[in-house]
Symmetry: C2
């Protein structure tokens, strides 16, 4: 009986929490898509910044932490793009109209970032800070390239 | 000369964007730590919700998408905990004081979630929706367990 109540409780909770997330995932509401992609970029930026602090000598190089951060950056780099759905050019976003007007160029910029973050993750695993520096700069270039064209200041 | 200007430009941009992220990563400002962990949870919830839609039959089961989402959930489950730094119990957060008052219990809840999302990622790779259903329910239980104790309604 106690177990049954527990299962029902979990079911109700799932309906409330996961279903609301489910509709967020399908990006029914433009603001959910915007919140999702901004969340991805914030996590990516924070982890990338962690690597930045190391390659710039602001904090000591920790190969394990750097490798983990690089791997997270790689995972995150693939996520935000489906959230640039139609109608999400307005609201709490710095996304420029060019994203929807030049989809081919936007896709190119995504692919460039994804390729560079894969190299960053590989560089993280070598345990050599010189490798990380090179890959960090190339990844930063890919970030900047996309921001310059597709993100308002 | 053009290349030199490009390098200087990238350097300035890095200083502005990455250094601000770097300080966010070190969570100097409590609000950055809060924003970071909320971002992680939002990405995790969105991806988990995507799996939820499939196991609940709301969208067709796509083994590839489900496996990717499960893998992202696994990665995300490890990230938010260092951001529960001191002084981040106030502000735009639903974090309960119990997080800081019962660190052992909070750590247990984290470990439980991390263990369940690892099983979720494994289940995602089998391509069998029954496996996914089981792991989804167990992961949802771990989410709920932590929310009940450590997150305000």
């Amino acid at each position: 009986m106690k177990k049954m109540i527990k299962i029902i409780g979990l079911g109700l909770w799932l309906s409330a929490v996961v279903l609301s997330n489910a509709s967020a995932q399908q990006f029914g509401k433009p603001e959910d898509a915007i919140k999702y992609r901004k969340s991805v970029f914030f996590v990516m930026g924070t982890q990338f910044g962690q690597i930045g602090s190391m390659v710039q000598g602001k904090v000591p190089y920790d190969p394990k932490v750097a490798a983990e951060s690089a791997s997270v950056v790689e995972v995150m780099s693939k996520l935000p793009w489906p959230a640039f759905t139609e109608g999400t050019d307005k609201g709490e976003t710095k996304a420029k109209g060019e994203i929807w007007m030049e989809p081919g160029k936007f896709k190119e910029a995504q692919d460039k970032l994804i390729a560079e973050t894969a190299k960053l993750a590989t560089a993280g695993k070598t345990g050599k800070i010189e490798d990380l520096k090179t890959a960090f700069a190339a990844t930063a270039g890919a970030c900047k390239n996309c921001h310059d064209s597709f993100r308002s200041k």
